[in-house]
């Protein structure tokens, strides 16, 4: 079932909505939208003028309102449809079930960025009520789960208008509260027991407080980064020491390299959210993998032989930015295809930072492969329209190409690995098994 629906009316929404037309044509958002009465004069599309996004004049064609309903376990294909013509309004409809399959985060981060850069207004319509009371006093636990993810925060940041099921207009406060009351206080981490996320914001906070070394915007050392990951481990219920344990040290290394790559190679043109997300997959011995919608098809064949009908826990860690894509940071050689250029980036010694004297030059992405091999993990890379899946078979690192919709920028590098239930580390037992 597609997540994208060109619908103007929502079930349960009252009179005035144009239920039959597939595209609601409107020049003025406030005319045919019933948000809270105050919203239009107080926040007339609050952020459009304050952003550096180009908002082309919608003279030539009539601006439309596009609606994207986010399903339970939305897929890469669903998310890749988030697009619009310049000047359109885009509305994201969010239900209590809304969520994403594993390995969808990267595409979503780029798609949010794309919509934000074209749309005249971005609206979030929640089909559930926000908790009553002052939004500014809301603790992380009170926030709807959806917004405690990297994608949720990115959407919130991109949105001009946020409305809940009671037509309560949260536009002025929703992101303000998320940023100032949650993210600034946690040093950049949001999440619940299902996922934990480290939020980076261009341009002022590309390195979140928690992983920043002292007072500068300098990258932290690997060790400092690792100790910050402790908070993510704790948030997932694995304890502060989880990412420092022997096996998972390879994951910290992986995340560190990917994160460093995003920082060093990003030349972001727009402000926005990117970051790190760690998601949990819990399998029960009786699970039928083909019925677990959280798992994208191409990942199923990786899990299948390793699952062995045991209760098990898996983690999927992703570093996702909306930058130019790995292959685009390399100088093309000859008539090399984009795909081969992407593959070349993972070869040892290929550097995207020419002639630097540092011994680490050209090691970043190769190190990532090493870390994955050590963990028996698989890697999923999507980078500006190219996507690749890597697993280690008989000691050999094998790449396969995954078809994904084109037209999106951004780099996302994910690692997916089993947190073995035979791990002697007691803390793992708390992970939800």
């Amino acid at each position: 079932m597609p997540a994208l629906q060109y619908r103007a009316g929502l079930p349960g929404r009252k009179a005035g909505a144009d239920v039959n037309s597939k595209i609601a044509v409107s020049k003025n958002y406030s005319k045919n939208r019933k948000i809270s009465p105050k919203s239009t004069d107080k926040h007339p599309i609050p952020c459009a003028q304050t952003r550096n996004d180009v908002i082309p004049s919608p003279e030539k064609q009539m601006a439309k309102t596009l609606q994207f309903r986010i399903q339970e376990w939305a897929s890469i294909e669903d998310v890749a449809r988030w697009d619009c013509q310049p000047g359109d309004e885009v509305e994201f409809q969010i239900t209590r079930e809304s969520g994403f399959r594993l390995l969808t985060t990267g595409i979503a981060i780029s798609a949010v960025r794309r919509v934000r850069s074209k749309a005249s207004a971005v609206i979030i319509r929640c089909e559930f009520p926000f908790p009553r009371g002052e939004i500014h006093t809301m603790s992380m636990k009170e926030w709807p789960d959806f917004f405690l993810t990297l994608i949720g925060v990115a959407l919130l940041e991109a949105a001009d208008t946020v409305v809940d099921a009671n037509s309560r207009d949260l536009s002025a406060n929703a992101f303000d509260c998320m940023w100032r009351q949650i993210l600034l206080k946690t040093g950049g981490i949001v999440g619940d027991g299902k996922s934990q996320n480290l939020i980076s914001r261009e341009f002022d906070s590309p390195i979140p407080e928690l992983v920043r070394s002292s007072e500068t915007n300098k990258l932290p050392s690997r060790r400092e980064f690792e100790s910050a990951l402790g908070n993510i481990g704790e948030g997932l219920g694995a304890g502060k020491r989880f990412f420092g344990s022997l096996t998972e040290a390879a994951i910290s290394g992986f995340l560190f390299e990917a994160f460093r790559n995003s920082i060093e190679h990003a030349i972001p043109e727009y402000q926005g959210i990117w970051g790190v997300s760690v998601e949990k997959l819990v399998l029960q011995s009786f699970d039928n993998l083909s019925q677990r919608n959280q798992i994208p098809a191409f990942l199923r064949s990786f899990i299948e032989p390793r699952f062995q009908r045991r209760n098990s826990l898996w983690l999927c860690a992703t570093v996702a930015d909306y930058g130019q894509g790995i292959q685009n940071t390399l100088l093309p050689s000859g008539d090399e295809s984009e795909w081969s250029r992407l593959m070349r980036a993972f070869e040892r010694g290929t550097s995207r930072k020419p002639r630097s004297g540092s011994p680490n030059r050209g090691q970043g992405l190769a190190n990532i492969l090493d870390a994955a091999a050590r963990l028996q993990a698989c890697i999923f890379v999507n980078s500006a329209g190219q996507a690749a899946f890597n697993e280690t078979k008989e000691g050999q690192s094998v790449w396969s190409r995954i078809e994904i919709p084109t037209g999106l920028q951004g780099t996302a590098i994910s690692v997916f690995w089993p947190v073995s239930n035979e791990n002697p580390d007691q803390e793992v037992l708390n992970l939800g098994l």
């Binding site: 509260c177 600034l184 007072e215 915007n217 910050a228 020419p354």
Partner: protein, 706 residues
């Protein structure tokens, strides 16, 4: 047996016992006590970091010596408490802890000060007084860190700190000068608790202090307790700072306890001070009565809590400093995209605060002419051209080849083992080698070539010339050294040639003023959920170090637009861009820092500190653009202590003048980063209201309440 009541502890004599001491040691100490001291004491108190067992045999003589003075023993109790026991003939009688601890602690800490003989107190004299790191003017300043100069004192402090440190989840300390006491406490008690110190007083570097607080909070478990120690509280402003920083970030999620080890009798009562120094202490507001009466305010260093240098000769940036770079600046000042700041060099992977786009320079007709003239002047002295393996080098080699018509080798080192057989043959036969390179700053590549020529036994080489398009040494002396390395001690003749030359600071990211601007304004932007446009636009530029900045080097606040240099400026010709002015001044300051007349040198050191005279911005350079550039380029120490106060006050007033608005952004950075003495939030608001409008309330709290 002496009568016990808590009043007996009003003026106790306190002793600290070494580890593993016994009651016999207590008796020993009492027996050796000076009679006057003994008489003055209302009671005797003994502290030990290890338990002391009752021992009836030792107790008997002890109680005889102590006669009518109650004697108490304070030792570690369970869960980091303190146990207080009165020594009686038959055994210890346990006392109610609280009144005993606070009285003994106070007496002990004051006794420490007394025994120190005032070494940690700075007393004012008729013609000077102190400005504490919290910017309070006072007639007396105490540096508590100076008390801690032996293990005994550390252990004694540790005894009092233990109950607070043992129950903390994280520890914040106001100054590294007392960190040893905290660390010693952790060590004795084998504790691993997150701990950090303010690098400087928050009135001077609020942002760095906020980072420290945030770093600690990030390591606190939910509901955790942060314990903050302040070495000495005067007006109480520091504790207030800490409370505010904490409340803004963590109120409700964590708890905090602020403790002052010392305070003064006049310190506000709500502060929890272990010991209050009874001397009547006066604090004054800035500008204070003492200042007004002509007494000199001496600043206490906000990081080290030491006295700053007293001797602060003021120096001027003069025409002679500007002269060296002037020809270069005048020749190229109209060239677009030549001057870049805050730029990652794709060739050497380094970050340059100041950089020049070599290809823009190459395509300039004036440069091409000078380059060709240089080449022609070398005719007859070249039979091999060598260039490093980069585009700029290859371009130069091509041009040289057109003049000399000799072979070209593209190679980074000329290392014999790294050369192809063919190239090696050519090098072995060459008698007059010309190495071309685009830029020389440190000269490391040149040294590498020389080493290869020497170690490779390229014996036919009789002449080695080195031609660079641009020499950009950081000091004038540097170039001379460089040409020496080319000739000294070698069998060949050597010459160093540069088509163009300019002295520029070789600042990397540590010193790059734009990297620091990025740090500073990213911290400002983070305070906003939706940072205003002027911030994000600037941050976007600063974030992109690959491109660097080649248009506006100055931070323009809302409503302020870019300006060009006026006519008849001593810097360079009128209409020059702010970028050109920035380079001209960066070069001039660098010349001033290396002036061979030491008295004119800008040289902020201890104990004699040549600093920028306030006259530089007052009378000498009156254009807003020049003042703005100086604010960007002059280091904190170079503004001086006393001088910087005048400079700051003058520039803050200038914000009101219509043609001086360009300095607003740079002054904002200088104050926020404490390059100049910071102003209070109130002063900030009144000076900067016209630039920040609604954002003012969000930005102002980075400055201290005043």
């Amino acid at each position: 047996m002496p009568q016990w009541n808590t009043n007996s502890l009003d003026s106790p004599r306190v002793f600290y016992l070494r580890e593993e001491s016994t009651l016999a040691d207590v008796a020993e100490k009492i027996s050796r006590l000076n009679a006057d001291t003994f008489r003055a004491a209302s009671s005797l108190a003994f502290l030990s970091n290890t338990p002391i067992a009752f021992d009836a045999i030792a107790a008997k003589p002890l109680l005889q010596y102590a006669a009518e003075k109650p004697t108490v023993v304070l030792t570690p109790g369970p869960s980091f408490s303190i146990k207080a026991d009165l020594i009686a003939p038959a055994g210890f009688s346990q006392l109610e802890v609280e009144p005993v601890v606070s009285k003994v602690r106070k007496a002990d800490l004051l006794q420490l000060l007394e025994e120190d003989g005032g070494a940690c107190a700075f007393e004012a004299h008729a013609n000077y007084h102190f400005v504490t790191p919290s910017l309070t003017h006072t007639s007396r300043f105490m540096r508590i860190g100076d008390l801690l100069h032996n293990l005994h004192t550390l252990d004694q402090m540790a005894f009092w700190l233990r109950p607070y440190i043992g129950t903390a989840d994280a520890i914040l300390v106001d100054s590294w000068s007392i960190a040893s006491a905290i660390l010693r406490t952790l060590q004795i008690n084998r504790l691993q608790i997150p701990f950090d110190c303010f690098p400087e007083h928050p009135a001077h570097n609020s942002i760095a202090c906020q980072r420290v607080v945030e770093g600690l909070l990030a390591r606190l478990p939910l509901g955790g307790r942060l314990v903050a120690f302040v070495s000495i509280s005067g007006s109480g402003r520091l504790v207030e700072h800490i409370q505010t920083m904490f409340n803004e970030r963590a109120a409700g999620r964590f708890t905090i306890e602020c403790l002052s080890i010392y305070g003064f009798a006049s310190t506000p009562n709500q502060l929890n001070c272990f010991a209050r120094i009874p001397t009547h202490e006066t604090f004054f507001q800035d500008p204070c009565e003492l200042c007004a009466s002509g007494s000199i305010p001496i600043h206490i260093d906000p990081a080290a809590y030491h006295l700053k240098s007293l001797s602060e000769p003021e120096v001027l940036l003069s025409k002679s400093h500007l002269a060296a770079a002037k020809p270069f600046i005048e020749r190229y000042r109209d060239t677009k995209n030549l001057f870049i700041v805050h730029h990652d060099d794709r060739n050497d992977g380094r970050h340059h605060a100041f950089d020049l786009n070599m290809f823009t320079l190459f395509s300039h007709p004036e440069f091409a002419k000078r380059f060709d003239e240089k080449l022609v002047s070398l005719l007859g002295n070249v039979d091999l051209i060598v260039s490093p393996d980069h585009e700029a080098g290859k371009y130069m080699a091509d041009r040289a080849k057109a003049v000399f018509g000799c072979p070209v080798i593209i190679h980074d080192t000329l290392d014999r083992n790294a050369l192809s057989v063919n190239d090696l043959g050519i090098v072995l036969n060459a008698r007059k080698i010309l190495i071309v390179d685009d830029v020389v700053n440190s000269g490391s590549r040149l040294r590498q070539y020389i080493q290869s020529v020497r170690e490779g036994h390229y014996l036919s080489c009789q002449m080695l010339s080195y031609l660079v398009a641009l020499a950009r040494p950081s000091t004038p002396q540097h170039l001379t050294e460089l040409s020496k390395t080319l000739t000294d001690g070698h069998n060949w003749k050597g010459h160093f040639h540069a088509v163009e030359e300019i002295i520029l600071p070789n600042w990397n990211e540590e010193l790059c003023p734009w990297c620091r601007e990025f740090d500073f304004i990213s911290g400002i932007a983070r305070r906003f959920a939706r940072p205003p446009r002027w911030l994000t636009a600037r941050l976007a530029k600063l974030r992109n170090r690959t491109e660097g900045i080649s248009d506006e080097p100055i931070l323009l606040l809302p409503g302020v637009s870019s300006v060009v240099l006026g006519d008849q400026s001593p810097i360079c010709s009128g209409e020059s861009s702010s970028m050109v002015v920035m380079f001209a001044l960066a070069s001039a300051l660098q010349a001033q820092r290396n002036d061979k007349y030491l008295k004119k040198q800008l040289h902020p050191r201890f104990p004699v500190s040549n600093v920028m005279s306030p006259e530089n911005v007052k009378d000498r350079y009156t254009e807003g653009l020049i003042r703005a550039a100086l604010l960007r380029l002059v280091h904190r120490a170079e503004w001086g202590q006393l001088a910087s106060m005048q400079t700051r006050s003058f520039l803050a007033e200038q914000l009101l003048v219509a043609n001086q608005k360009i300095i607003a952004g740079e002054l904002f950075i200088a104050l926020g980063r404490s390059l100049l003495p910071p102003i209070s939030a109130k002063e900030f608001k009144s000076s900067f209201a016209e630039f920040f409008h609604a954002d003012l309330e969000i930005i102002a709290p980075i400055f201290a309440k005043g």
